[in-house]
Amino acid sequence: MTFIYPTGSNAAHPLPLSPDYKSSIKRAPNKPLIPMPHTLSELTGPVYGHETVREGDNDLTRQHAGEPLGERIIVHGYVRDEDGRGVPNSLVEIWQANSCGRYVHVRDQHPAPLDPNFTGAGRTVSDASGYYRFVTIKPGAYPWGNHHNAWRPAHIHLSVFGHSFVTRLVTQMYFPSDPLFPFDPIFNSVPDEKARARMVSSFDLENTQPEWALCYRFDIVLRGKDATPMENH
């Protein structure tokens, strides 16, 4: 079988079953995935959703009457493919906890305060070079019931489309040098250390705005058409 998007690239992903992440035990398939060729159905993908992006949707600090509490940050980078080409015109959606580690989601019961000036959702479209940019506040770490004293490292959830249905990616962006990394089964579900490092943003002093906001750089790397994967050869 030949693949226009090499499936070897998928080795960077977590295995479906990662028993340390308890919720995966009953939700990961037990049977092997069935390989199949990429047909036109897999090689095409949605190019809409963009019209719903309103001006200011990429600034999560300006969606309410006042400014949210927390450390204001810029998160920016490129949507790229694994050969380094920018992926233009791709919808990027984000959602995150507030600076106290609390989501507005009704099922989040963590007893940390909600912030009336922060919803925590944003979206944007990458430009012709693949560049995207958000302004938000740094999310807090929060406890979860996976195991005794379990805390998620601070993270921002991202959803990205790319050029086809097989480049679809939902991931989480982490912050550099988080002391919770060694203890987080979701972060560590990615078996390869280098691949884990690709989920961690880098502090970007050059693009930090003095007297206003720190900056983090995060490139989102999607599967590439006719790409030559670096791994697994």
Binding site: S18, Y21, A28, L40, G49, E82, A121, F187
Partner: protein
């Protein structure tokens, strides 16, 4: 900003988690608008309008109330709403993509049209089908499957269904309700009835 060197691989997937609804599928319940709904329909879309519905279950047979499903499909003539489909002019009046979250009882539904025939890489016809991606808490990467239709004679010659053991094909086949344009397909993430998921 400087572009950096060739990446050493793709960004790994991480779970969508339990708290995506306010960002990805708010449906009026949060201070955010939907980029997508559970409908692919536009007012002037042509083709047979159908509804696909079902439930998502985990390995214990318990309904999954926090899954997110996305579909991608061709229009009634088998054309995709993507300029990468070079066979004909893209059909601007059909989007082909929809998203929905399961409700508290694990139910999902999509409003769409019955897709047409799409060729495989060798030009052989594929039976009408819809691509389905399944996301959820506990799922570190989304899963890909396909929805076929029990009233399509082309299923017997479909090159992708042919890759699936015969006794598992029913997990990919939505069943039409008598007298209604409604198809039903339950998804089982695990267990005896486990849905066929594809490595793409």
């Amino acid at each position: 900003m400087q572009e950096s060197a060739k990446p050493d691989g793709i960004t790994p997937s991480q779970t969508v988690g339990p708290f995506f609804k306010y960002g990805l599928t708010p449906t009026g319940e949060y201070a955010w608008n939907d980029a997508f709904t559970n409908s692919t329909l536009t007012p002037d879309v042509s083709g047979d309008r159908i509804r696909i519905e079902g439930k998502v279950f985990d390995g214990d047979g318990v309904a999954v109330p926090d899954a997110m499903l996305e579909i991608w499909q061709a229009d009634a003539q088998g054309r995709f709403a993507d300029p990468q489909d070079k066979r004909a002019l893209p059909n601007a009046s059909f989007r082909g993509f929809a998203r929905c979250g399961t409700d508290k009882d694990g139910n999902y539904s999509f409003e769409t049209i019955k897709p047409g025939v799409v060729p495989d890489p060798e030009g052989k016809p594929q039976a009408p089908h819809i691509l389905l991606a399944v996301f959820g808490r506990g799922m570190l990467r989304h899963l890909y499957t396909r929805i076929y239709f029990n009233d399509e004679t082309g299923n017997a010659a479909d090159p992708v269904l042919a890759l699936v053991p015969a006794d598992r094909r029913a997990t990919l086949t939505a069943v039409r309700e008598a007298g209604k344009p409604v198809y039903r397909l339950d998804l089982h993430l695990q267990g005896d009835n486990e849905t066929v998921f594809f490595d793409v």
